[in-house]
């Protein structure tokens, strides 16, 4: 029984924006469920196959903002076949048909077509914001229709997508009346850019705060852009191979000086060091810096730049910065919250002195008290270092460590890294995301199961000895949502031990493990509310058919997820849904 009229309750609910909280509210009572769902504006769907668009719209008729994720995380690393799925089109069709007043669409790892973008642009007159992360399947023609038809477009943010660049005039398609842009990111486009159109667009967008251009925007164009948008907060620069001449350099620096609001810098995929220098005037204002594509800039030059960035909260960098560089970061960036150190040398040549080691990690942990998220690719690690890191930084929420060589032990003791990671999960009581690497036995999973109470996502590769390892995790981590495992000796016993566990999880990925077809079939029988997908390479499809009876056949890749709408209809031949 409600003591307040529905409108009042609805108003109160307006203040609650977190998805989790809203989900909790909807469980309180039927009446609250109804009020909540009718007033819900933003919906997040972590797995687009867990539900279908029709049911979504039925439940949330007032939907304004939708976030959808498609392919499993390991698709980022080429472990999922190209044609696996994750199509956004049916969603857009359904939303258009139901005349939902969609204003914002955020997609990650989905397949988007030009047709979808065209339909999107024509169906939602209030559409304001399109964010595409790691998507594929569309071209600049699709972007052109979005630019042309979305009259109220404020945000077009394209992050790391594979876009077929037709070198067209999509930037020209923004009508002259379009002045509402606040964010424009086309850094992932590979082709040429119509500079004149871009400059005109930026000039008539006084609210533009975030601008990330692609490689093809040369230095003088950048200078002009910055000159007419001194209000920029977030800037992504293009690619500048050659050193600028004196005059260009001075002009650039002058333009940069005027951008007093600039807080975030990125891009730099190919940059002559002098161009980096031009940003010195605003260094001390920066809170976010992404130099992780700047393969050309050597360590000491990076260090010199970062020395001035005392307010950095987020830093993405290549391991060419070296341990020494990280020590400088540790002593300079006291506000640092998130650090990502990517490998510059993807072929892991052994004698690369400039890569980072445990030394850099320890230095960072000691120097940056506010650090809560880290992604660290390194050549080597020790238990002692991890134990120290755990002591220094008990506040980690995300801890992702990738030792480049699989199965590599502690390089000083030759032991496994169980104790090191154990220390991390024990100390970091708020840890939500963990990636482990190096030589690891079942013991590390015992620790994880015992201590990582808040853990929601765990990534395992080349680790563990027996099914016990996986069982420790499944039994212990009550809040586990996404578990992804590759090349580890976990089999049917672990997979089948507690089927109901998968009700509480979004998904499980296992590739190159010990699970067999028989085990997966048994799981699918016992859990009809799961989609159990077996992914095999094409050449093995014959094997699949021939050995249909051979339940002992090991499964190449297994991806299972809870769903309320049963087996999907759009799976390609290489995917079998049991």
């Amino acid at each position: 029984m409600n003591y307040f009229p529905d409108e009042v309750i609805e108003h109160i609910f307006d203040f609650i924006s977190s998805h989790k909280d809203r989900n909790s509210i909807s469980l309180v009572s039927k009446s609250w469920h109804k009020i909540e769902r009718c007033s819900r504006k933003r919906v997040f769907i972590g797995n687009c196959y867990a539900i279908n668009p029709e049911r979504l719209i039925q439940r949330f008729p007032s939907l304004r903002s939708l976030t959808l994720k498609g392919k499993p995380h390991f698709a980022d690393f080429n472990l999922v076949p190209h044609e696996w799925g994750g199509f956004v089109h049916p969603w857009i069709v359904a939303l258009a048909k139901a005349r939902v007043g969609l204003e914002e669409l955020r997609l990650k790892r989905m397949v988007v077509s030009d047709e979808s973008l065209e339909l999107l642009s024509r169906s939602f007159s209030s559409f304001k914001s399109l964010v595409l992360v790691s998507c594929e399947g569309f071209t600049t023609d699709g972007l052109a229709s979005v630019a042309a038809n979305c009259r109220h477009l404020r945000e077009l943010d394209l992050q790391e997508n594979e876009i077929d660049d037709h070198r067209g005039q999509w930037l020209n398609c923004f009508p002259e009346s379009s002045t509402a842009l606040t964010s424009l990111n086309f850094s992932c486009l590979k082709g040429e850019t119509n500079l004149a159109a871009l400059e005109r667009l930026v000039a008539r967008s006084p609210n533009l705060e975030s601008l990330k251009v692609n490689r093809a925007v040369p230095l003088d164009a950048l200078t002009r852009l910055m000159s007419c948008a001194p209000q920029l907060v977030d800037l992504g620069v293009g690619s500048y191979e050659n050193e600028p001449d004196q005059e260009s350099f001075m002009k650039l620096m002058a333009a940069i000086k005027k951008c007093t609001e600039l807080r975030s810098l990125s891009g730099f995929s190919e940059v002559a060091p002098l161009c980096l220098t031009a940003f010195y005037p605003i260094c001390q204002n920066l809170t976010s810096l992404n130099l992780s594509y700047a393969a050309e800039i050597q360590g000491n030059h990076l260090i010199r730049f970062i020395q001035f960035c005392k307010r950095l909260q987020r830093l993405w960098i290549l391991d060419s910065i070296g341990d020494k560089g990280l020590e400088v970061v540790a002593s300079t960036c006291k506000e640092l919250q998130e650090l990502r150190v990517f490998p510059s040398d993807l072929h892991d040549e052994e004698d690369n002195d400039t890569a980072v080691t445990e030394i850099g990690l320890v230095a960072i942990s000691a120097g940056c008290p506010k650090l809560h998220s880290i992604l660290y690719f390194c050549k080597q690690m020790t238990n002692a270092a991890l134990i120290t890191v755990a002591k220094n930084c008990p506040n980690f929420i995300r801890f992702r460590l990738c030792i480049l060589e699989p199965n590599k032990p502690d390089h000083t003791t030759s032991q496994s890294l169980d104790e090191g990671f154990g220390a991390i999960v024990q100390a970091c009581k708020g840890l939500r995301r963990l990636s482990v690497s190096g030589l690891l036995t079942d013991k590390v999973f015992l620790y994880i199961g015992m201590y990582a109470e808040q853990l929601e996502m765990l990534s395992i590769a080349f680790a563990g000895d027996t099914d016990k390892g996986m069982l420790y995790v499944l039994n212990g981590c009550k809040k586990m949502r996404k578990l992804e495992i590759r090349d580890s000796p976990f089999g049917n016993a672990a997979l089948l031990a507690d089927v109901d566990k998968y009700r509480t999880m979004r998904s499980l990925w296992m590739s190159s493990c010990e699970v067999t077809l028989g085990g997966c079939k048994r799981l699918a029988r016992n859990a009809p509310w799961l989609n159990v997908e077996i992914i095999n390479e094409n050449e093995n499809n014959d094997v699949m058919e021939r050995n249909e009876e051979d339940e002992r056949e090991k499964v190449d890749r297994l991806y299972l997820y809870r769903t309320v709408v049963g087996a999907r209809k759009d799976a390609p031949p290489c995917v079998t849904i049991l």
Partner: protein, 329 residues
């Protein structure tokens, strides 16, 4: 692993898996393909034994005239472009002054004559002036050699691997490892490629190659087509890298516009014995100056100014440990 094995207790499954993983680990590093089915390797099909044999052979020193025994060399000869290759014997131990410098007539390049960095790597114990010959650098073992090359390249090599334009490196690429987004991998690879590729039309657009120098904080790029001979290139490079040798590495970040003291530079260069080297299409590091200019710009992918002592293995061992930049003119 056969079904029978799987039916055994967990323990033995685990250990046999472990063994496989352990063994796999080794195999992977050699590029064999029997790792997990999603794994891929670049030298699939080569058995362990053959690998060992080939690599031994490649490092074998033999006495004999160059060109006498490397069938695999044929492919390399083709790489050298339209230059006509003469079978005349060519004694590598006697590079005379004028052969060192560029000459308008193209060099005779007998097969097997390539003085690759890699070729000399394992030679130390057998290495004497008299015995020094060019063993076959077998194309098939390129990846093995690459590994050695990689280990011995001067420190400070930083940018993404130079393998982007040649067959992948020895360390086998386990699919999806390291876990780096494809987008990132492709972008970094493109950054590397962009400097290596011409506009697709040989002979027309600029031909930018990266130039690095030991001890310099950053790389530079030069357009090889903007020079017509080694002399011009050498002069340009000197100008470019003046600041570093004069100990002015980026105090302000700006390149030194004024070459303060040119003579001082030359002395420094001479005294420090810098050598100009390049990486060719096969990924081998060579001394600049062997070939005619035309051939050179056809094969040069990268330039590096090395300290003389680091360049010893590159071959001018007996006569000229190092060659000051200037004398290339």
């Amino acid at each position: 692993m056969s079904p029978e094995e799987e039916l055994q207790s967990n323990g033995s499954v685990a250990s046999s898996t472990r063994n496989i993983v352990g063994v796999l680990k080794e195999h992977n590093y050699l590029g064999l393909s029997d790792c997990s089915s999603v794994g891929s390797s670049n030298l699939s099909g080569l058995a362990d034994d053959d690998k060992a044999t080939i690599s031994l052979k490649a490092t074998e020193l033999t006495l004999g005239l160059p060109g006498s025994q490397s069938p695999a060399r044929d492919t390399e000869l083709n790489l050298l472009g339209p230059a006509k290759l003469d079978e005349k014997p060519f004694f590598p131990l006697l590079p005379s002054k004028d052969e060192m410098c560029s000459s308008s007539s193209h060099k005779n390049i007998a097969s097997g004559n390539k003085r690759g960095f890699s070729d000399t790597m394992d030679k130390v114990p057998l290495y004497t002036e008299k015995n020094w010959m060019f063993p076959e650098a077998v194309v098939a073992t390129q990846s093995v050699i690459k590994k050695e090359v990689a280990q011995n390249l001067p420190k400070g090599k930083l940018s993404t691997t130079n393998n982007s334009s040649s067959p992948p490196a020895a360390k086998a690429q386990i699919v999806g490892w390291p876990p780096v987004r494809s987008y990132r991998k492709n972008t970094l690879a493109t950054t590397c490629k962009n400097s290596d590729e011409v506009d697709g039309k040989p002979g027309s657009g600029p031909l930018f190659v990266k130039v690095s120098m030991d001890g310099a904080p950053y790389l530079r790029k030069v357009d090889l087509r903007s020079y017509t001979n080694y002399g011009e290139l050498s002069a340009a490079l000197e100008k470019m890298f003046t600041t570093f040798t004069l100990g002015q590495c980026g105090t302000s970040g700006a390149t030194g516009k004024d070459v303060r003291n040119e003579t001082k530079l030359k002395d420094l260069l001479n005294g420090k014995d810098y050598v100009l080297t390049y990486e060719d299409k096969d990924g081998d590091w060579m001394l600049v100056g062997d070939f005619s200019w035309e051939i050179f710009i056809g094969v040069c992918k990268k330039l590096k100014i090395m300290k003389g002592c680091d360049a010893i293995g590159l071959g001018m061992f007996c006569f000229l440990l190092v060659m000051p930049l200037k004398s290339l003119v």
